[in-house]
């Protein structure tokens, strides 16, 4: 986990574009605007104090009326700390720039978010189906409001 000092420095440097997130259990987490995402990941990768070089995973989360989120879990193999970065997206038109240039590991994770959640990854070189079949035409199955006649929800108990 990123030390408080480094986290505060990061928040000061980016000012209005970022916001500290209070997560439970306690984690170092930053909310950033979609247009500043590239700038932020480039900075934490290049700056020696952060030296964040490892992208563990990218997850999309659908909060229905509260919009969508992209969650990036980063860590540093040399400094042994981690950072979570979140981006809030408009559910009607979810769009986010790709971070492949700085973290190539994002490639398939972003493709997955595109095909399962319908999030448009701006600038991604090969947006095509990854897990679903090529002729899938039933929308974005991981969205919370997705429904299909064959989809059986488990009964409450």
């Amino acid at each position: 986990m990123l030390s408080d000092q480094l986290l505060t420095q990061l928040l000061e440097k980016f000012g209005d574009k970022t916001q500290k997130l209070e997560l439970k259990p306690v984690q170092a987490a930053v909310l950033v605007q979609a247009q500043s995402l590239i700038e932020l990941v480039a900075y934490i990768k290049e700056d020696e104090n952060y030296a964040i070089d490892y992208l563990s995973s990218v997850s999309a989360v659908d909060y229905l009326e509260d919009g969508m989120e992209m969650v990036y879990h980063f860590s540093s193999t040399s400094k042994h700390h981690g950072l979570t970065i979140k981006v809030k997206l408009d559910r009607a038109k979810p769009e986010i720039p790709t971070i492949i240039e700085h973290f190539p590991a994002a490639n398939w994770f972003e493709r997955e978010a595109w095909e399962l959640y319908g999030i448009n990854i701006v600038g991604h070189p090969e947006l095509k189906t990854l897990l679903l079949s090529e002729n899938w035409d039933k929308g974005w199955p991981m969205r919370r409001d997705w429904d299909d006649e064959d989809f059986v929800r488990f009964p409450e108990f």
């Binding site: 439970k24 259990p25 995973s57 997850s59 989360v61 969650v71 193999t77 973290f103 108990f157």
Partner: protein, 376 residues
């Protein structure tokens, strides 16, 4: 090319790249994976993996199940090391819910996870050697693995999908004779590993097909999120058991092997050394195994408090992650699984240029990719 009067068609001769499908049903892809290869004669120029043949929508299913119903699905997430999947999920839920686990359960988790690591690596060594044309190590590997599976079966009743490590503890305590059996096994395995090394390590065919083949540089490995033995073979000392410690791993003394060249040989050898280290961890854990009740004391259906966490553990293949978003309900709001094979297959197109198909088979086997973990 000039026209040759003796061979009128020579002027029309030309070379061009062509495409070959490898898979989806191919014995060396260890599951259902299709590689679209662009070939220049016998040399590979490009490879494009096509995945998703085993997509079962585990993440979607889990959003519709209560927490205790999810553990069996985790077994099927990566069925060659099911214990690890159970553990990462249980650990993530325990961190969100701040659930205490008894010391005996923590020790048992370490013992079973390390046994599972050995079982998985034995499968790796067997199939890796078989892909290179040596059949004997495969029989050896399955023979030793059988002993581990028997111990698992005696404890939890299952041979592949254990459902053993659960939120709050483990499902059953061990049998009275387990400790003696386990000690006998670790001693036996250390001797058996010498057989493996005698068969493979000095075999000139094995060496020439693995040394300096498909080198994965350290910077590329990190950039693509490779982990586990694949990353360590490239010379990066990164083991989550030490670098992001979980469970009781900080109580044990063990070494993390680190390779130098990042070639196919190093990726193989890392696993042999890891098996030896795993037997050491098991011995220490058996020595220190505390008394008490390791089974769980939670209701079949319960609510986790609001929160979210990305938990990762060092599975046999690398970093296995589980990201749970809880909204204070009986079911997770979002559950994301991260398997190390996903990243290992992602990096494959970067290192295939110039390989022969036979080398690709060796390299693919050395990444130890398992498809259900990728397709989920």
């Amino acid at each position: 090319m000039e026209d040759n009067p003796n061979n009128p068609t020579a002027g029309d001769l030309r070379t061009e790249e062509f495409q070959v499908n490898m898979g989806p049903q191919h014995p060396s892809t260890h599951g259902v994976c299709r590689l679209l290869l662009t070939m220049d004669g016998e040399v590979i120029r490009k490879a494009e993996p096509y995945i998703g043949y085993l997509h079962r929508g585990i993440e979607k299913i889990c959003e519709n199940r209560v927490y205790n119903q999810i553990t069996p699905f985790m077994d099927r997430f990566e069925y060659v090391s099911s214990m690890m999947c159970d553990w990462v999920y249980a650990l993530c839920a325990e961190r969100i819910g701040e659930i205490e686990v008894s010391p005996r359960a923590e020790y048992l988790r370490v013992i079973f996870a390390e046994l599972q690591r050995i079982a998985s690596h034995l499968i790796f060594v067997g199939t890796f050697a078989m892909d290179l044309g040596a059949f004997t190590p495969f029989l050896y590997g399955l023979r030793e693995r059988e002993m581990i599976i028997d111990m698992f079966e005696e404890t939890c009743g299952q041979r592949l999908t254990y459902n053993y490590i659960r939120i709050g503890g483990v499902s059953k305590d061990i049998n009275p004779d387990f400790v003696a059996k386990c000690r006998k096994f670790t001693k036996y395995l250390r001797e058996a590993l010498e057989d493996y090394e005698t068969i493979l390590n000095e075999n000139p065919i094995f060496l020439s097909r693995t040394k300096k083949i498909a080198v994965l540089p350290a910077d590329l490995a990190i950039a693509y999120g490779a982990s586990g033995p694949v990353l360590r073979a490239s010379g990066v000392n990164w083991d989550l058991r030490k670098d992001d410690s979980y469970g009781y791993y900080d109580k044990f003394d063990f070494k993390v092997p680190v390779g130098q060249n990042g070639d196919t040989w190093d990726r193989y050898y890392m696993r042999i050394v890891e098996m030896r280290e795993a037997t050491r961890i098991i011995d220490q854990a058996l020595d220190g195994l505390p008394e008490g009740d390791p089974t769980l004391k939670i209701k079949p259906s319960f609510k986790l408090p609001e929160g979210e966490h990305y938990t990762r553990i060092e599975s046999s293949r690398g970093e296995m992650g589980c990201y749970i978003v809880s909204k204070g309900e009986k079911k997770p709001y979002r559950l994301k699984l991260r398997g190390s094979s996903f990243n290992h297959l992602m990096v494959l197109p970067e290192i295939v240029d110039g390989l022969l198909i036979a080398d690709l088979v060796a390299m693919f086997a050395s990444l130890d990719v398992i498809m259900p973990e990728i397709d989920r």
